[in-house]
């Protein structure tokens, strides 16, 4: 058995022994993956897993290193890039991924990716036509 295999076995036993907690956080992540375009908040997420919202935040962060709401934002922004690259308008994209305000979507997008949704879209479409 290699050193790495021994380490995996040791870490698994020490960090991932609580299957109930794992089911809760993995279930929450799947729920977000399937419903990120809808109105989601911590109350709803914690109700789906029968936990308190504070417990859910703590657990989720312990296993994934970020809070459920941070993950939700990441998920939405990644999806927005796909939609913008297909040529969908900023406003339609904003609503389709579950954000409510195009201006706050634009601000968030820019702070995360360093360019506005419009600039990203132009670049994506230009790159696509360049490759043809």
């Amino acid at each position: 058995m290699t050193h790495y295999l021994k380490e995996i076995t040791r870490i698994k036993a020490s960090c991932y022994a609580n299957q109930g907690q794992l089911d809760t956080v993995v279930g929450t992540r799947h729920f977000i993956n399937n419903n990120y375009d809808k109105e989601l908040n911590l109350n709803l997420l914690s109700h789906t897993r029968f936990t308190s919202k504070f417990h859910l935040i703590r657990l989720y962060k312990k296993y994934y290193g970020q809070t459920p709401m941070q993950y939700l934002i990441d998920k939405r922004l990644e999806r927005s890039k796909e939609l913008l690259a297909k040529g969908q308008s900023i406003t339609a994209t904003c609503f389709e991924i579950g954000f409510e305000s195009p201006s706050s979507f634009t601000t968030l997008f820019k702070s995360r990716f360093g360019l506005t949704p419009t600039a990203f879209q132009k670049k994506a479409i230009f790159t696509k036509s360049d490759k043809k």
Binding site: T2, H3, Y4, L5, I8, I11, K12, C15, Y16, L22, V25, V26, R29, Y63, Y64, T127
Partner: protein
């Protein structure tokens, strides 16, 4: 600062290029001839061609400590680099049919599923799927 390139030490650049493109499905991005037979050689993910480039770097052939370090990691089974995939089991099935050797078969580790394979250039590489 931006992350544009990460390096993977390889013992044979041409062999590495074949493995990373033909077996793993990466795409060659930059190939600049340098001194002797060395090249500045990078590949990118097919799905993210504007993403981070992997520099297939011949350091084990030119810098003894790099060679020693690569060998020690390999023998300990430690993967220094990892790639994300949507489905570890599916990739494992595809890659074993191509004759790629695995030192860790698909294994669940809490919130991820992992597997580790030999890139035939001196490295263990880990595949990761978020679950």
């Amino acid at each position: 600062m931006k992350v544009k390139i990460i390096s993977i030490p390889v013992q044979d650049q041409e062999k590495a290029l074949q493995f990373y493109t033909e077996k793993l499905g990466f795409v060659k991005k930059v190939d600049v001839p340098l001194t002797e037979n060395n090249r500045w050689l990078t590949v990118v993910s097919k799905e993210e061609q504007d993403g981070t480039e992997i520099l297939l770097e011949p350091s084990p052939n030119h810098f003894e400590p790099a060679k020693v370090y690569q060998k020690a990691l390999f023998e300990a089974g430690i993967p220094y680099t990892q790639f994300n995939v949507d489905d570890v089991q599916k990739e494992y099935d595809r890659m074993t049919k191509l004759g790629i050797e695995f030192s860790v078969n698909p294994t669940e580790m809490g919130t991820v599923k992992i597997a580790v394979f030999n890139d035939s250039c001196g490295n263990n590489i880990q595949m990761v799927q978020m679950i």
